[in-house]
Structure formats: structure tokens, C-alpha cells
């Protein structure tokens, strides 16, 4: 290298490179446990050589001039990221659905002694007890109290399902807020990254942060994203753009009167509905509007069937007080079914006997149990599902389907979890910090640093000889 002090420059460059490399190894080790951290390595390149012409030979030769830092390399595979986020959104959806189904199963609580099917059995059994002795006030009171336990259970079940729907609705509201917040943060990071890149610094750690936000966002809703050549990310949900470089479009949720006043999600500007197809948001909406809603419909149908079948027969019955035409149940479906308070007040009013005259005349015998027997036998009559199922078989089918769907949700979630674990490992393989590797690097750069220091000492020694001792 021309000039006397060139050798020192080589040593200096080597020192700087080794020192920076060690610092970077230190940075990696420090962040070994940081979420979303991608390991970094110094990219070193030889500085452009000088050409000199040796004395005897006229052909130019190139002499190296040391090392330079080309940049900091970030070990990240974008393709793994795309696959990870796709799996993550599916996981979000399955997880939400699985959790909700399990909560619904806890509400339904079949099979067990206090559950709906047991109470239905007990209700019809109580009618037979009255038929066995219609004059017994004890049997009648037992009937009205068992009927009240049954209607209370109907109410409870309906409320339980509606509560879970409200829970899912609440989740929708929270996740919409989360999406907006994450979008704002991503746009903010885009700005910071842009500032950093224009000033020449690589924005590796900022990009890591943004990638972490994208991971979180992908779990909530189905996003597609692109990263421009200038490292600015744009995120969309369906065709709508959520983050466009430095600006965001917010989404909002509002009560929809056409859907039980549940939240519907739209783009704030323009009001178009957001095309939600996956993620926790979709899971919550599906549960709320389909899975839970259909169970509520079935439950209500069962209660309505009860009310109409029992009341139809009971209206023909005469109580011990000689009054006919009474309803046994009040209400229209599972949310409001109840036992007629007039009958609850005095169980003698239960219409167990048949009317032997034509209305409006009433004639009955006290020991007659015809109507009680008929209602008791309703347990075996196929009044549900268009005349193909008894009350019990109808509910049995509902419970079985619930079990199958919940089981399936669990299986899908477990499967998806395995996929996600596989992808996490793949990502970690590429981007994760290996302590052993960094430790070995530290040793390497420490030795290189020592050697570089040696270069300077040697050069210094040579210069000292030239400057101080030559030609004295």
C-alpha cells in the first residue's frame, strides 16, 4: 500500500471490524430471549485493492487494503413469515371456536343428573304420579315444583347461550380496537424505518418490531401485506387497505339492528363491510351468529314444542276446582317459559280430569285421571322435528351434534397447533440466536482483535525503526 502509514490503516480497519463483530455477537446474546428478534451478523467485505507496479516487472499487481463493513445482515426468511402468519390466523380462528364450544358444553352440562333431559324425564314422570292418584295434593304439588325446576332450567340454558353470544360480541369489539391500535403502531414503525433508512442506517431492530406486530395482527384477522423495496409495509384486509405506508384506515364496529344488535364490522370511511374470513375475529363472529345462534334456536323450538303440546292437552283438563281451559305453561320459548302462576298457587287446579260435557258446560269426576295420563304419555309421542322425534330424542340429537362439532373444533385446533409449532421451529432455526454459536463467534473475534492489535504493534515497530533509528 502506498504511503508509510498504510499498514496502520489496515490494522485499524481490522480492529474496528472485530470490535463491531463482537458487539453484534453481544447484541444477539442479549436478545436471545426477546420476542420476534432476528439474529444479525456483520457483513464484511475486503476494501478495494490498490494496484502497484513492482520495480523489476512492469505488470501491475493488486495489493489488498483491509476490511470494510458492508452492512448488517438480518437472517430472516420472508417466505416462512408468510406461511407462519397464514397458520397463525387459522389458529386464532380455531382457538376461539374451540374455547367457545367448550364453554357452551359446560352450560349444557349433559349428561348429568341436573341437566335438561333428566328434568324432562322427571316432569313426565310427575304427571304419571298424578295419574296414579289424582286426588293426592302431594302428587300435584310435586308436579308443579318439578315443572318449575324444568322451566327454570330452560331459562338458564337460554341465558347461558345468550351470555356466550354476548361474550363473543364483546370479543369482536375488543379485537376491532386491537386491529386499529396495531395498524397505527405499524404505520408509526413505517415512519421510523423510513427515517432510519434515509439516513443510511439499517433498521433491523425496527423491522423486527414491525414483524412482531404483523404476527399479532395475523392472529386476529386475515391480513395480506407487502413490503416495498424501501422497507415500508402495507397491510390489507381483503380488498380494503388497513395500512398504506404512513397512513391508516380505521375499522369500526357498530350495533346492527338486523342482527340482534350484535356488532358488525365496517370500514370507518365509506362504511363498507370488512371482508373477514379468518382469525379470532372470524371465529368469534361465526360462534356468535351461527354455532351459538343455532343452538338457541333449537332450544327455543324445544321449549315452544313443550308449551304448545302440553297446553293443548291441559286446556281440555279440568282442575279440582271445576275450571277448564287453563294453560299449564306460560311464555313462548326457552327464554320466558314458566309455569302458570295460578296453578303454582294451588296445585289442585292442575287439570288432571277430562271434561265430560261439551263447552261451555263443565262436568268432571274427581277421580278421573284421563288428561294427566295423556300428558304423561306425551313423553313417547313424536311431536318434534315434523313428527319424527320425541322431546328427548330431539334434544339428544342437539347434544350429540354439539359434541361432534366441539370435538372437531378441538381436533382442528390441535392439528393447527402442531403446524404452528413446526413453523415456529423453522423460523427459529433461521432467525433464532444460538448461544453456542455466538460464544464461538466471540472467541473468534476476540482472537482477531488480538491479532489486529499485533499488526499495529508490528507496524509501529517498523515505523519506529525507520523514523527513529535510520540515518541517525
Amino acid at each position: 500500500m502506498p504511503g508509510s502509514f498504510g499498514g496502520l490503516e489496515i490494522g485499524l480497519r481490522a480492529l474496528q471490524a472485530s470490535r463491531l463483530a463482537s458487539e453484534l455477537a453481544g447484541h444477539n446474546i442479549a436478545n436471545a430471549n426477546t420476542d420476534g428478534f432476528t439474529r444479525q451478523q456483520l457483513s464484511l467485505v475486503a476494501t478495494p485493492p490498490f494496484s502497484i507496479v513492482p520495480f523489476n516487472n512492469g505488470v501491475a499487481t493488486e495489493i489488498g487494503s483491509g476490511v470494510d463493513i458492508a452492512g448488517v445482515r438480518r437472517y430472516r426468511d420472508d417466505f416462512i413469515d408468510i406461511r407462519f402468519r397464514a397458520a397463525n390466523q387459522e389458529m386464532g380462528r380455531q382457538q376461539t371456536m374451540m374455547d367457545s364450544m367448550q364453554r357452551l358444553e359446560a352450560v349444557v352440562n349433559e349428561p348429568s343428573d341436573g341437566a335438561l333431559s333428566s328434568l324432562v324425564d322427571a316432569f313426565f314422570g310427575a304427571w304419571h304420579d298424578v295419574a296414579n292418584d289424582p286426588s293426592s295434593l302431594a302428587a300435584r304439588s310435586s308436579l308443579t315444583s318439578k315443572a318449575q325446576v324444568l322451566t327454570a332450567r330452560f331459562n338458564q340454558l337460554a341465558q347461558g347461550i345468550q351470555a356466550e353470544q354476548a361474550n363473543m360480541d364483546n370479543l369482536v369489539t375488543r379485537r376491532v380496537a386491537d386491529i386499529n391500535s396495531l395498524a397505527t403502531q405499524i404505520a408509526g414503525l413505517n415512519q421510523q424505518i423510513m427515517n432510519a433508512t434515509t439516513s443510511g442506517a439499517p433498521a433491523n431492530d425496527l423491522t423486527d418490531k414491525r414483524d412482531l406486530l404483523l404476527d399479532q395482527l395475523s392472529k386476529i384477522v386475515n391480513i395480506t401485506y407487502t413490503v416495498s423495496a424501501t422497507n415500508v409495509a402495507s397491510v390489507s384486509i381483503g380488498v380494503g387497505v388497513l395500512v398504506n405506508g404512513l397512513t391508516t384506515n380505521t375499522i369500526s364496529s357498530a350495533a346492527d339492528p338486523l342482527n340482534n344488535n350484535f356488532q358488525s364490522v365496517t370500514w370507518t370511511a365509506g362504511g363498507a363491510p370488512v371482508a373477514i374470513s379468518s382469525g379470532e375475529l372470524q371465529g368469534a363472529i361465526y360462534q356468535r351468529d351461527t354455532a351459538l345462534a343455532s343452538r338457541l334456536t333449537s332450544l327455543n323450538a324445544l321449549a315452544a314444542g313443550f308449551i304448545s303440546s302440553v297446553n293443548a292437552v291441559h286446556a281440555l283438563g279440568v282442575g279440582l276446582d271445576g275450571v277448564t281451559g287453563r294453560d299449564f305453561f306460560t311464555g313462548a320459548d326457552a327464554t320466558d317459559i314458566g309455569v302458570n302462576p295460578v296453578i303454582v298457587a294451588d296445585a289442585n287446579r292442575v287439570g288432571a280430569a277430562a271434561n265430560q260435557a261439551t263447552l261451555p258446560a263443565v262436568q268432571f269426576t274427581a277421580g278421573d285421571n284421563t288428561i294427566a295420563l295423556q300428558i304423561g304419555n306425551l313423553a313417547d309421542s313424536k311431536t318434534m322435528a315434523g313428527g319424527t322425534a320425541t322431546f328427548n330424542t330431539y334434544w339428544n340429537t342437539v347434544v350429540a351434534q354439539l359434541g361432534v362439532e366441539s370435538r372437531q373444533a378441538r381436533n382442528l385446533q390441535e392439528g393447527q397447533q402442531l403446524v404452528l409449532i413446526q413453523l415456529t421451529d423453522e423460523r427459529s432455526q433461521q432467525s433464532g440466536v444460538s448461544i453456542d454459536e455466538e460464544a464461538a463467534n466471540l472467541v473468534r473475534f476476540q482472537r482477531t482483535y488480538e491479532a489486529a492489535a499485533r499488526i499495529i504493534s508490528v507496524m509501529d515497530g517498523m515505523l519506529d525503526k525507520v523514523i527513529n533509528e535510520m540515518g541517525r
Partner: protein
Amino acid sequence: MRISFSTLMDTSTRNLQAGEQRLKLLQDQLASGKRIRRPSDDPIGASLALTLRTRRAQLDQLDRNLGAASDWLKASDTQLSEMTSVLQRAKELAVQGGTDTVGSTERARVADELEQILRHTVQIGNATMGGRYLFAGAKTDTQPFALTIGPPTSVSYAGDSGDLKLHVDVGVDLPVNTAGSKGFPNVYSALSGLVDDLRAGIAPSSSRMAAMNTALDDTVALQAEVGAKLSRLDSISTRTDDDRLNIASQLSEIEDTDVVDVTMRLKAQENVYQAAIAVGARVIQPSLLDFLKP
């Protein structure tokens, strides 16, 4: 393949958690004694369990209905049996009072005893069980028979001919009562006629004797009907008892934890878990830093 630090830690944690989850599941099954805690544990099993439970509840109810039916029939049987033996005595007396060699005092004495028998049979007709009249048809709250000593002696019937049906088997609503409108009127008119005749000093005619025989036959027939129903209930009861045993064992097989099986698996899982913990500890400790000179 490159293994990063976080992969090692995550894998360890994940395996331990999976082990804990399996342990918890087995513990739950053992503690609760139930194999199916929610429908998704075994959807087909849960559906079957619900069907069996309903069947079990129905059989329990049928059992109660059978008991109530049986009580009614047995009470009727007892009363009718007494009626039969009392009528036998009445028939003897009628024959006695019918011979020509009997004097008026003798006839009066026979009339007295027959009147007592009449009162007795009216009492039998008004028998109750648990506050309800056995032979009043559906009017179980009304005393069916009222005796007026004449002449003319008669017994009026205030009940009806209604059935009391009880649900004793699937699709079977069995009438368990004997209405006082069947057979009893013949008994009372035969006895009343005899009493009136004897009091009037008339010897019982052959038609009166024939009426007496008919009354006796009717009572025996009523008793036979009750007996037949009781024996039918018996065979239903035997069958439903068998059914209940079958269902109880089927239900237990589906719903209950197999304690031996689960305990064995719990033990095995505990061993696996301990091995996983030991491995985890060995794997996460050493790194190159331990071996480098400081």
C-alpha cells in the same frame, strides 16, 4: 440443522406442558369417576348415555306406576274375596230359609242374619284405600253405595262406570279398578230380595235362588279378572326389573371411568413426566460458555 437457544427451551417447555395436560385429564377422570365429562369427550357415547338415562327414568316411573296399580288391585282382590265367602254363607242361609219345615221364628232369624250380611256387603262395596273409594268407578271421592232398609230394601249406586287407567308398560294404560256398576247391583238386589221375602214370611223362590247363584258367579268372575290383571303386572314387573339391571350396567360401562385402566395409565404418565423433567434439566444447562476460558 441449526438449533437455536429458544427452540431448545420452547421444546422442553412444550413437552412438559403436554405431559402435565395428560396427567390432568387422567386425574380428572379418576377423581370424578366419569369418563364422559362433556359431549365432545365421546359424542356417540354421550348420545347413547342420554338415551339410556331416559329409558332408566321411564323404567323407574313404570315401577312406581306398577306399584300403585298393584296396590289398587290387591286391595280390590281382598275385598272381593271377602265378598265371595260372605255370599257363600248367604247362599246357605237362603237354602236354609227356603225349606218348608222352617217356622216363622226360624225365618225371622235367617232374615236377621241375611240383613247383617247385606250390611256387610254394602260396607265391602264402600271400601276405601288411601282415602279413595275402590268401587265407585271414577268418582273416587264419593261413597258409592247407600242402603235403605225397607220393605222394599234397596241399595243405590252413586258412583259411575268410569275406568281408572294407569300407565303400567310402554303403550299400555291398564284399567285397574272394578266399577261398582258391574256385578255389585246383582249381589245387592239378590240379597235385598231375600231379606224382604223372608221378613214377609215368604220362602225364597227358585228365581231368588237363581239370582243368588248369579251374584256369587259374578263376584267370582270379578275376582278372577282382578287376579288375571295382577298376574299380568307380575310378569311386566319381572321384565322391567331385568331391563333396569341391563340398563344400569350398560350406562355404567359408557359413563363411568374404568378405575383400574385409568390408574395404570396415570402411573405410566407420571413416569413419563418425570423422565421428561429430567431430560429437560440436562438439555438446558450446558452451553459452550461453560467450557470457554474466561
